[in-house]
Symmetry: C2
Subunit: 114 residues, 2 copies
DNA sequence: TCTATTTATCGTCTTATGGCGATAAGTTTA
DNA sequence: TAAACTTATCGCCATAAGACGATAAATAGA
């Protein structure tokens, strides 16, 4: 029933990470646990939108959640998630430098056109 | 114009990876370059669907493409992408073992109910 | 208890995504 | 050149995803 394969979880984790707002949320929470009312003013998104995004990260087991009185506190469950993001960034940086290199080479010949 | 920030590319890469068929395609291509007509029979998806998925991976700069006569050959551009996937898997496995552990503990008390 | 605060959820809208078949465009072979 | 092959693209449909405001539910404070 709750039987989940690694590939299912894999897609779930990657889907949860493939949104700019959610990546920002993770970055924001890298500073430590925060309640929703602290998070809200840092994002220009409606409360319902932020709540939904937080829930997606929670469902993907990336965030932990605890209720403290009338507020809910979220925090990173496993900092390894940042390793993943860092590695993606490293790939992205590689792409950018390759693109820059290609542009440089291409630029030379383009400068010689009419 | 072609100006892309790391965060844009980051999302693009992660989005490209967050689909089961595309992850399968990467796994399939880990064995080396393959033309589309080799890939097709290994997947139960229409030719147009596979072509679109391959193009998404290509646009995310994850796959390389070269035309060889009447066929197109795709290959992994940077094997580092597998490092990312491996790391996601490791997170997923962690989640599964935690879940199993929680289930084991919960199981004990559940066995003592009516 | 009444009110304010906090957060999740619901309903709705718009856009994005994944799937398919049909078609186009290019290459090879007959 | 005609036919066959290979692959990308187009148009369409169904569903998913992201956004919002309104509302609900729970707690804290007056």
């Amino acid at each position: 029933m709750t039987q989940k394969s690694v590939s299912d979880l894999r897609v779930k984790i990657l889907s949860a990470l493939s949104d700019p707002t959610r990546l920002q949320l993770l970055e924001y929470l890298s500073g430590g646990e925060r309640c929703v009312c602290e998070i809200l003013p840092a994002f220009q998104r409606s409360q319902s939108t932020i709540s939904k995004h937080l829930n997606i990260l929670y469902e993907a087991d990336i965030l932990e959640r605890k209720v403290d009185g009338k507020r809910t506190v979220y925090c990173i469950k496993d900092p390894q998630v940042f390793e993943i993001i860092r590695m993606v960034d490293s790939l992205a940086l590689m792409q950018i430098s390759q693109l820059a290199e290609a542009g440089r080479i291409l630029g030379k010949s383009l400068n010689n056109r009419s």
